[in-house]
């Protein structure tokens, strides 16, 4: 896989089918899917539990806005991922172009995915910093690899795109 910036686009060239599939999994991975720990992490409390009124109002007024924001970011990523939808040559390497203007949406969607996966599998801090673990051992190992791969993409986008 080659990662480069070409004008107003970030390009992931020579993507092998495995990494392309991990990219296709981003939108699905952002979903908490009824897993309470993931839901709690994506929509964390704004204050201590003793601030009951504030927390209750937050759920009513702020959380819907956050859901809309996260949904918009994921929608942009889904549209960019359409480039990988072609199944003419399913096992051929491919290229993904991400317009730099979509960089922030990608950062957000990748973060949603990483947090939701980490919450579902309850990864420990030491597991998350183990970047050399093989992804082939179990579903848990594959998910850890997914979290780290998405983090690697975030680092790259942050380096290439001025988001501030």
């Amino acid at each position: 896989m080659e990662m480069l910036r070409d004008g107003d686009c970030l390009e992931l060239r020579d993507l092998d089918p495995f990494l392309a599939e991990l990219l296709r999994q981003i939108p699905a991975s952002t979903k908490a899917e009824g897993v309470e720990s993931a839901e709690r992490r994506l929509f964390s409390e704004p204050a201590a539990a003793s601030e009951k009124e504030l927390c209750a109002e937050w759920k009513v007024y702020v959380q819907p806005e956050l859901r809309r924001l996260f949904g918009n970011a994921t929608g942009i990523v889904i549209a960019d991922l359409e480039q990988l939808a072609s199944n003419e040559k399913p096992f051929a390497n491919c290229t993904l172009r991400i317009p730099t203007r979509n960089g922030e949406a990608w950062l957000n969607a990748l973060n949603q995915a990483r947090l939701a996966i980490a919450a579902k599998f309850d990864f420990t801090e030491s597991e998350l910093s183990d970047h050399y673990r093989s992804p082939l051992g179990s579903r848990r190992d594959l998910s850890l690899f997914q979290v780290n791969f998405y983090g690697f993409l975030q680092e790259w986008i942050l380096r290439e795109v001025d988001c501030v």
Binding site: E45, P46, L54, L66, L107, N111, R114, V164
Partner: protein, 121 residues
């Protein structure tokens, strides 16, 4: 004191006596009294803190970028706060009135950081 603007609305200032207000109120149905809003409640409200908590998933570079973006901090200062979160588990990013603190926490949640509002004691 009552100011009579050109539109015909009577504006009662905060230090106006009750009897004077009553006189204006009773003088005409078409002359509502608009009293200046007092800020007493806000003035006595204790400041709130915006606190960001450590989480092992968010990248350090990402957290730094969010602090720069949300609080307009220079990179060096944003990194100091990020390191405080990483090493001490939390960092106070801002202190002030509740409404603005809520807005900051909402923005931080939009970037998926673990952030809370806390009362200063």
């Amino acid at each position: 004191m009552t100011v009579q603007p050109r539109s015909g609305l009577a504006v009662a200032l905060p230090n106006e006596s009750a009897s004077a207000k009553a006189k204006v109120r009773g003088s005409s149905v078409g002359h509502p009294v608009i009293e200046a809003e007092t800020k007493a409640a806000e003035e006595v409200d204790l400041p709130w803190q915006v606190v960001v908590h450590n989480d092992p998933v968010n990248l350090m570079t990402y957290v730094t970028m969010v602090f720069q973006k949300v609080f307009g901090l220079p990179r060096a200062q944003a990194e100091i706060h990020m390191m405080e979160v990483h090493q001490k588990g939390r960092s106070i990013l801002w202190t002030g009135v509740r409404e603005r603190a809520e807005l900051y926490v909402q923005q931080l949640h939009g970037y998926l950081l673990l952030a809370t509002l806390e009362r200063t004691v």
